[in-house]
Symmetry: C2
Subunit: 354 residues, 2 copies
Amino acid sequence: MEGGDGPYSYTQNSEYQKQSLDSAKQLTNELIDQHLDVGNHPYSLSNSYRVADFGCSVGPNTFCAVHNIIEAVENKYKSQKMESRTPEFHVFFNDHVGNDFNTLFRNIPATGRYFAAGVPGSFHGRLLPSSTLHFAHCSTALHWLSKIPKEVTDKNSPAWNKGRIHYAGAAKGVKDAYSTQFAKDFDSFLSARAQELVPGGLMVLVSLGFPDGVQVCESSMGENFNILGSCFLDIAKTGIITQEMVDSFNLPFYYPWPSELKSLIDVNGLFEIKKIEKLVAPTRQVKPDLAVCVLHLRAILGELIKKHFGEGITDILFKRHTKKYVESPIVSDGRYFKETSYFVFLKRKMNCAS
Amino acid sequence: MEGGDGPYSYTQNSEYQKQSLDSAKQLTNELIDQHLDVGNHPYSLSNSYRVADFGCSVGPNTFCAVHNIIEAVENKYKSQKMESRTPEFHVFFNDHVGNDFNTLFRNIPATGRYFAAGVPGSFHGRLLPSSTLHFAHCSTALHWLSKIPKEVTDKNSPAWNKGRIHYAGAAKGVKDAYSTQFAKDFDSFLSARAQELVPGGLMVLVSLGFPDGVQVCESSMGENFNILGSCFLDIAKTGIITQEMVDSFNLPFYYPWPSELKSLIDVNGLFEIKKIEKLVAPTRQVKPDLAVCVLHLRAILGELIKKHFGEGITDILFKRHTKKYVESPIVSDGRYFKETSYFVFLKRKMNCAS
């Protein structure tokens, strides 16, 4: 991270993340206070409270999130004058098996406040035994789809996404296919967590998305994906990659509306919704460092691109992308929407089959 | 691993490990059948059975051990006609934070037979919440001391281990210091596990050691450490390292007698000893591949040596060691003892303070 307080510093440019985090922290604290049944762990007489972060990456955000949850649970015990019955905390850090758990483990703060474990595997499936988890957390990870919907790469489908790498700006069929895949994945996620959580267990989701009705192509992110898509097409024209390779490449990200989240949680039926709220927007907007934005995009997409196109094209691609990006209106035009974080607080229903 | 059935093949040269493993498997199966209280998990109503392997490394031995334990527990449920109540298994793989958990996680067999988690940290301390573990396993890891006892590197102590790198063949005070450190470490291990295990929980230890009364200097391993020590002294004479560096370097390994283990478990007082038994020795002895033996030693000691002496000397050291090793009597002389594996089966006492 860039130090100091200059225009490129992390201090100046992480306002958005920091405010989101603070805002989520405050909400989590309030809602744990309202909805946690202290001293009532019917599924564990051993007095340990199990917290899992799904899609944790390597830190430090996961440690902040876990710290906030533990603090809120401890506060509830204190406020109920049950401090002596405060449980021991067992924290499960989950991410894909390809995540760098070695780095994650080295980064775990040595506070002794909890026992830590790493859990490798996809959060679209089961990762923990039934009814053993008390609190599930998942922040800015649910937009990753488990796979690209088939129709999108099927030449004979009306949802074939020829010449594009995302549903942003694509035909309606493409967005529908993405949206259907997200619905399946989110339902799998909810059902797996419902089995793992004790009845009455709590869950916080922070989901990247856009306000109801806003299309991803109206956002700076959607426009950025379109610029990147056009760079792939440019490179295909030079013969380094084929048009077919571009047609069959799609980014596995879906950004749901809050109304979609609500409706999918209702259909799943295993959780009560206690809160869905937009996290506060930053109070000051600093002009983004373009190089950092491009590096950030490359960090996220680099592996996906290498896997599909091979090692060769990443440098050429991002050189071309940077050139187009700095000239695009999204850098200066305030009309483009930015993705928003939605905070969702759920409680596992007490009496329902999972 | 070397394939086929030739003189250097793994098939021919892993008889010892394989027979130890088979022998431990059979004992574990019998003793779980005798001592597991099925359907009686007072500390978990969620019907999950938690197994931890302490000092797991990256596999595959840890997966075999865990597989054997799970199979034995399942068999017990079957034999009691309680198959429908067979619990879900949650397996915790523990090793130091420096262990390569990324490799471990990639190696976990995709059987779906258990939920897996990695637990980074020293097994001399607490790693899991109180009374949450049902079965603890630790194989060929307890001989690693948590640290070198101070006296051994103290010039003013009668236990100063000048010119040697291990207690093998050293003054009695040196062995006593190692033995005292092992007693402390083993007691910490037992006390931590006693807190983590549910009352009545089970534990298998496989400990490297020697028969009662046999000194490590009478063994091929002890003699090998002495050869290595003499190589360090040779290099010190060339001026590449100092004599002080050799004097302050000691290998953190202690090989207890079975009578020592028994006595330390009794003093700790938190476990009932159900069995201490020597694991079967190999039925056929294939002349060891010297290059493999040296590589094996280098693999185990390389990091310790680099940490103390820096990157430079490992190549020189092991070239010199190989030369002395092939000329030493331990390669051909059958009078040298080999280290032995002892199998220990313990049950956490039901009613005692931890």
